[in-house]
Amino acid sequence: MNSDIVVFLVLSLIAISSALGMMFSRNAVYSALFLVLNFITVAVFYLLLGAPFIAMSQITVYAGAIMVLFLFVIMLLGAENLAPSKSLPWQKPLAYILAFVLVVESVYLVISRAQVDKFISSPEASLNSMDNLREMAMTLFNQYLLPFEITSILLLVAMVGAIVLTKQEKGEQK
């Protein structure tokens, strides 16, 4: 066991436990905070994988903007806690079983089909330099220019959509 594995396992443990914490928290605010922790952990994984730009995006966009939005909505709606209901009694056990089967299946698939010779070494200094960022930008703006522009349009549409959806109709009384 080298140090890389150790770091990976520790981080994995944090990621999984924070994910479970998000899922099982009764209070939605705790869930959101657990998710933030999970995102940060995943950002560290990105750094380990030599993707500093993605790591920064992860922290600013996900852990920062999106989760703040979530917290904002939770508190706005007062939806921290919802009264329990017994509408779907067989849903929960079935969900557990299926999720377990899914984990087993996917892990089995990963282990059985993956190329065993692929290893990821810890990032070299050059990978985290500005060269890396420049190369990525070159790829993004040459090879993926059209998807990039489409994404910008998508964001614009989402923005307009959100405004339209929450906008108060004229004459509508609160």
């Binding site: 779907l88 849903q91 079935l94 299926l98 089967v101 899914l102 698939l109």
Partner: protein, 732 residues
């Protein structure tokens, strides 16, 4: 096309305008009169000018023919039918015979057009249908055009086109007042008269067509010259062919020229407006048969048997119709039978081969019979005017009285009734029928309508054959020809001439002399100038028309003129014996008529003085010898019975009730109700469709439970799918 050298000097190029001129008038009135709101005078002027233009063209053509010394000119307008060996062109034939007919048709036609402006103005006014004025002139122009085609055609086919065209116009004009009748007869009386004329003419046309078929089959052509050229050979080898052609043609002549046995339509045709009676049913169209025989002279000359039959038919008609005319009371009916009788004279003449005499009588008859008819129209209108004025006066008084008594009770019905008073003067104030054409309603018109009286006198003397009027010369020529060859025809015609003078005398005494027998006759008024001036022209022609063919050495002008076409014949000198007998008989007849009708004028409601001494004979004359009834008994009733039988028994009971209802419908019902409906449809197709429906329903009722509306359970099924797919990938 035989175009002689001198064509360029003549006016033959105008020939198509014989037809185009009246057609132009027709089109102008048809298209523009509504746009530019032509007044009645404009419409009449356009139509009269169109007819007048045709007359001018006729004059120019006649002049050209005389320049050409009577040579036949055929002016080809267009190709018509070119099939196999049949080569027919639309060619105008201009020779002395056709130009003579053109002159008569367009000349008399134009005068009648002018007269009709005045007549129709009042007629439509009396009948409250002023919108029809224009239509009348459209028909008249169409008639002139068709008649021109008839007389100018170069083949039997073209002649037939005109023949049918004038028949159509005749039909349209007899039925001009097709939906109204002022004599309290059923409203379809006028249209029935039109149909009778049309159908009777169809019988004649059938004969004409058969003649045409035979002609084409054996002579190979319709063109006059070719037919006449081929005829003698056939007459030599197969004489019956020519006999058949000429006799079938005689059937056509009998239809169009109202000869026995097809004359019955002509008296009924008097239902049309009087100018129509004058133009079509006296002066022009009915002479088409005479023209046809004259035109076919080369054929008839080949077969004396047929000629003899034609002459006998003509003479028989002349006598027969003359006797009927004696017993008639309607002023126009008398003239109608007189026309039939005179047409009999003409047909007899052309049958005897005296074509010039026949044509001569045709021309003079056109003059004086048009004159008589138009004067009769003037009399009728005068009576209507008188009746209208009088009835209106009385009705007005009546109305005023009622107004005083009835306060507000003047109902709408009364108002309507009063409107009806105006209708054609047909009803007087008590709703009784007043017939302005009935001679018993007249009397004493000499004083109230002097102009008409003198004109009528001239026409009567011409018709009666009194020296020196036109009728004397032409009738005398026919009698002279008959006396030389056909004694029986001669005597028949002579007796007919006696009757002619008698019934005309009777008419004169009844209409113009004595005292007025009705208020209408008392208040009758003279007709306007537009009507009387054309009459004066015709009167002059009736007086002087005899000068066309005076039977003296150096005259015989018409004979020479027609001789270009018909072959020169020697003009007969005046035979004092024949002329003396006919004139003497005519004078005697007038004297007798004076004795009966003039000396003791008929009083109101008095029966005819002839009725007592003659008894059943007069009843026969009055009832037209019951020929119509005979036709009814022999042809129409059996025909009705047969059609009744066919309709009722064969069609309705057998075909409809039995075959359709019982056999076909029954089988069909059984098939559809039992076999198809109950088994195939209800149990088979419906069963399957219903099963499909209920199956779908039950399946969906089960499936809809899946759709529970919980989004999480949907997600669960998605995950289930993912798990299953992954499992499949693992186990693969």
């Amino acid at each position: 096309m035989h175009l002689s050298e001198s064509v360029s000097t003549g006016f033959f190029f105008l020939a198509p305008w014989l037809v185009f001129a009246p057609l132009t008038g027709l089109l102008i009135n048809l298209i523009f009169s509504k746009w530019f709101k032509f007044s009645e005078n404009w419409v009449g002027a356009v139509a009269s000018l169109a007819s007048g233009a045709a007359f001018v063209v006729s004059v120019l053509l006649a002049y050209s023919v005389s320049l050409n010394h009577g040579e036949v000119v055929r002016w080809k307008l267009a190709e018509w039918i070119h099939v196999g060996t049949l080569n027919l062109d639309w060619t105008f034939r201009i020779d002395s015979l056709s130009t003579t007919m053109m002159l008569v048709v367009s000349g008399v036609g134009t005068l009648i057009h002018i007269y009709a402006i005045g007549y129709m103005h009042e007629d439509v006014r009396f009948k409250h249908e002023e919108g029809r004025f224009n239509r009348f002139f459209l028909f008249l122009n169409l008639f002139i055009a068709a008649m021109m085609i008839l007389v100018s055609g170069d083949s039997y086919m073209m002649l037939f086109v005109g023949w049918e065209g004038v028949g159509l116009c005749s039909f349209l004009l007899i039925g001009f007042w097709f939906e109204m009748d002022t004599l309290a007869r059923p409203s379809w009386a006028n249209s029935n008269a039109a149909k009778k004329a049309f159908i009777t003419n169809r019988v004649g046309d059938f004969g004409f067509l058969i003649a045409g078929f035979l002609m084409f089959w054996y002579l190979g052509s319709f063109q006059f010259d070719e037919v006449f050229k081929a005829a003698p050979e056939i007459a030599h080898s197969m004489p019956w062919v020519i006999v058949a052609i000429t006799l079938f043609m005689l059937v056509g002549v009998a239809g169009k020229s109202a000869q026995i046995p097809l004359y019955i339509w002509l008296p009924d045709a008097m239902a049309g407006p009087t100018p129509v009676s004058a133009l079509i049913h006296a002066a022009t169209m009915v002479t088409a048969g005479v023209y046809l025989v004259t035109r076919s002279a080369p054929l008839y000359t080949l077969v004396p048997q047929a000629q003899y039959i034609v002459a006998m038919v003509g003479a028989g008609t002349a006598l027969f119709a003359a006797t009927i005319a004696v017993g008639q009371y309607d002023i126009k009916k008398v003239l109608a039978y007189s026309t039939i009788s005179q047409l009999g004279f003409m047909v007899a003449a052309v049958g005897m081969g005296a074509y010039v005499a026949g044509m001569f009588h045709l021309i003079t008859h056109a003059f004086f019979k048009a004159l008589l008819f138009l004067s009769a129209g003037s009399v009728i209108l005068g009576l209507e005017r008188g009746h209208h004025a009088h009835a209106h006066h009385v009705a007005h008084d009546d109305h005023g009285k009622k107004k005083k008594e009835g306060k507000h009770a003047l109902s709408k019905a009364e108002g309507r009734k009063e409107e009806e008073h105006g209708h054609g003067g047909g009803h007087d104030e008590h709703g009784e029928v007043f017939d302005p054409g009935d001679m018993r309603n007249m009397g004493g018109l000499r004083k109230t309508m002097p102009v008409t009286f003198w004109l009528y006198m001239i026409g009567t003397l011409a018709l009666a054959g009194i020296f020196p009027f036109a009728g004397f010369w032409s009738k005398d020529e026919i009698l002279l020809d008959a006396s030389l060859h056909f004694t029986s025809v001669y005597w028949q015609l002579t007796i007919a001439a006696f009757f002619t003078a008698f019934y005309m005398g009777r008419q004169i005494w009844m209409v113009f002399f004595g005292e007025a027998r009705t208020d209408a006759a008392k208040h009758a008024e003279e007709s306007p100038k537009v009507m009387t001036v054309p009459l004066m022209v015709l009167a002059v022609l009736s007086v002087a028309g005899g000068a066309l063919n005076l039977p003296f050495e150096g005259f015989h002008n018409l004979g020479h003129w027609l001789g270009h076409t018909l072959g020169e014949v020697e003009g007969l000198p005046l035979d004092m014996k024949v002329a003396g007998i006919s004139t003497g008989l005519a004078l005697l007849a007038i004297l007798i008529s004076w004795f009966l009708y003039g000396r003791n004028p008929l009083k109101t409601g008095e029966i005819d003085p002839l009725k007592k001494p003659l008894g059943p004979i007069f009843t026969g004359m009055e009832g037209k010898w019951f020929v119509d009834e005979g036709y009814f008994a022999v042809i129409i009733n059996p025909f009705n019975k047969i059609s009744q039988f066919l309709a009722d028994v064969i069609d309705w009971r057998f075909w409809h009730d039995f075959v359709h209802d019982t056999v076909i419908l029954g089988t069909y019902n059984w098939l559809s109700e039992i076999a198809l409906n109950e088994y195939a449809d209800q149990k088979g197709i419906d069963g399957f469709a219903n099963w499909l429906g209920s199956a779908t329903q039950s399946v969906s009722a089960t499936l809809r439970k899946v759709q529970n509306g919980f989004v999480r359970s949907y997600a669960l099924s998605v995950l289930l799918g993912v798990v299953l797919i992954l499992g499949y990938l693992i186990l693969k």
